[in-house]
Symmetry: C2
Subunit: 304 residues, 2 copies
C-alpha cells in the first residue's frame, strides 16, 4: 500500500538529527498527527547525542531512539524520513545511506540552500524512494532539542521545490502534512529561484544583523534600546558553523544582495550627508509604502 | 504646595500633541495613575485635530480638549506638561509659549534628539518651571492617536538627562511616574551621550531597515520570509517626515555609526568573497557572544 493510501497518523516517521528543527517537527507530528485516537503511527529518531534521544523518549515525543550504528535499521522501517542536518551533512548522509531507505518512502530535508542538494540528488537516490525538496521557513535563534517546539511552524511559509520524479500524490500528502503542523502558505518554486530569494530574506538579514552587532561600541548599548536594535539583532545570536556553511554554499547570490543593499545604504547616506531633506522624505515614504505592500501581500497572496 | 508634596493622582496633566506618543502617555496615566479611588487628577490636551480630542474625550481618556487658540489657557492649568511634538516643533512651541506655563510646573518632551533641545532650553524657559529632558524608548511603526496604547511602555527604557536646574524632588517624582506607567529601566545620562548612543540603537537601525526594503527586488519577497526579514524591516513602515528630521538633527553621530557599520559589513563581505570559513565562523561566534552578553546586561544591569 502506498503512502497516499494510508492515513498520516498510521505512518512511521524517521528523524535524522533531533536538534531544534528535527525536534520541532517530531513534536509537531506527535502533537498534531499522532494524537488522534487509534493512531498507529510511530516516531523514530537517530542523533549523535544519546541524551537527546533519551529525553525525547521520556517526554513521549519519539517512540524509539536509534544509535548511529542502527541508522540503517531505522531507515528501513520509516515511511517518511526528515533529514534534519546541515546542508553538506545532508548530502553526505544520502550518499552513505542511499540504499537503506524503505522502498516507497518519502524523504525530505530542511536545508536552507537547495541548488546543490537538488543537483546531487538524482545521481544518488534509488528510484524506489521519493525525495521532496523543501525548506520550512521557521526556526529560532536558540539551538538544540531543548528549544524545539511544535509551535514554531504556526503561520509560517513552507517552500517546496518539486522535482520531476515527485508523484503528485506524494506532494499532496506532503502539503497536507505540513499544513497540519501549522504552516499556512506553501510556495512552489525551483531550487535556483529559492537560493536567490533566500539569500535576500534570510542570509542577507543574518549578515546585516551580525555586522550591526559587530559595529556596536560595547555590549551596554541596549540600555539605550527601544526595541528596534533588539529586533534587528536577535538573529545575531547565530549558530556560527551552520551559517558559515550557508553563506559559503550560497556565496554568489548572497554577495549580489549585499552589493544591492550597499548601494541603497550609500544613497541614503549621501542624502544625510547633503542634508537633502526633501528627497530623504520621499525615499522614506517610498520605503514605507513598499514595506506596507509587503505586509499586505503576505496576508493576501500566495502566488510568487 | 509643590508637586512632590501632592499625589500623582491629584495633578492636572497637559498634553501638547495627542498622537501615538502623547495618546499613549495620556492613556497610560488614565489607566495607571488616575484610576485610583478618589483621584482628583485631570488630563488636558491640545491637538491640531479636533476629531482626536473629541474621540479621546469620548473614551474617557482626556478630561477636556483645548483648541490651538486655547493652548495657553491649558498650559496655565497644568502641573505636568508632556510636549509630544517633533523635535523642532518642540523647541518652537517652548519659544512661543514659554511664559504661559503654570509656575511650579514640570515640563518634559519626548524628542528623539536631545543636544539641541537641551542647549535651547536655558535661554527660553523662565525659572519658575522645571523642564526635565527625557526620551521614552517606546513607540510603534503605526502612527497617530488611533494606535496609541498605555501598554507600549511595559518593560521599556526611559532615558533621563537631568539638568542642573532640575530639583531632586522633581526628578524623583518623574521616575516614580514613569515607573508606574510600565518603564522598568531608567537610565541617566547627558544629551551628547544620548544623541551618540541613540544614533546607533535607533536611527542607524531605521536607516538599515529602510535600505534593506529599498534594495528588495519586489514586494512579493515576503513569500520567502521566515521572520528575519519581517523583524528587520518592520520599522521601515516609517513616519517619513519625523525620521527625516531626526536623521538631519543628529547627522554627524548617525554618519559615524553608518561608517562603522559599513566597515563591519565590508569585513564580513570580504570573508564571504574569500570563502574564508575559519575566520567567518570565528567572527560569527564573537557576534553571537556579544549579542548574548547584551541580552544578559539588559536583564541584569541598569548602569551605563
Amino acid at each position: 500500500m502506498t503512502i497516499q493510501d494510508r492515513k498520516a497518523e498510521d505512518l512511521t516517521y524517521g528523524f535524522v538529527g533531533l536538534g531544534l528543527m528535527g525536534g520541532s517537527f517530531a513534536k509537531g507530528i506527535r502533537e498534531n498527527i499522532l494524537n488522534k485516537s487509534q493512531a498507529q503511527g510511530k516516531i523514530y529518531a537517530c542523533d549523535i547525542q544519546p541524551a537527546v534521544l533519551h529525553a525525547s523518549r521520556e517526554q513521549g515525543v519519539i517512540s524509539r531512539g536509534f544509535t548511529l550504528e542502527e541508522t540503517e535499521t531505522m531507515l528501513s522501517l520509516c515511511d517518511f524520513v526528515f533529514i534534519c542536518l546541515y546542508p553538506q551533512a545532508t548530502l553526505d548522509f544520502i550518499e552513505t545511506h542511499k540504499n537503506a531507505f524503505k522502498p516507497g518512502a518519502i524523504i525530505t530535508d530542511i536545508s536552507g540552500v537547495k541548488s546543490h542538494i537538488a543537483q546531487g540528488l538524482s545521481k544518488k537516490l534509488p528510484n524506489s524512494v521519493d525525495f521532496i525538496c523543501g525548506h520550512p521557513m521557521a526556526g529560532s535563534e536558540k539551538e538544540g532539542y531543548g528549544h524545539a517546539s511544535g509551535k514554531i511552524f504556526k503561520d509560517r511559509n513552507y517552500i517546496l521545490m518539486p522535482r520531476k520524479e515527485n508523484t503528485p500524490e506524494h506532494l499532496e500528502f506532503f502539503k497536507n502534512l505540513v499544513t497540519d503542523l501549522g504552516f499556512t502558505r506553501i510556495i512552489e518554486t525551483d531550487p535556483i529561484t529559492h537560493d536567490h530569494k533566500i539569500a535576500f530574506t534570510s542570509q542577507l538579514c543574518h549578515v546585516l544583523a551580525a555586522a550591526l552587532v559587530d559595529s556596536a561600541e560595547d555590549a551596554h548599548i541596549t540600555a539605550f534600546g527601544g526595541g528596534s536594535f533588539e529586533d534587528l539583532t536577535r538573529i545575531a545570536m547565530i549558530n556560527a558553523p551552520l551559517w558559515t556553511e550557508l553563506f559559503s554554499a550560497n556565496k554568489q547570490e548572497l554577495l549580489s544582495h549585499i552589493e544591492a543593499f550597499e548601494n541603497s545604504l550609500e544613497a541614503i547616506k549621501k542624502l544625510i550627508q547633503d542634508d537633502n531633506k526633501t528627497v530623504m522624505c520621499r525615499v522614506l515614504e517610498n520605503v514605507r509604502e513598499k514595506r506596507i505592500a509587503m505586509s499586505r501581500i503576505e496576508l493576501q497572496d500566495n502566488s510568487v
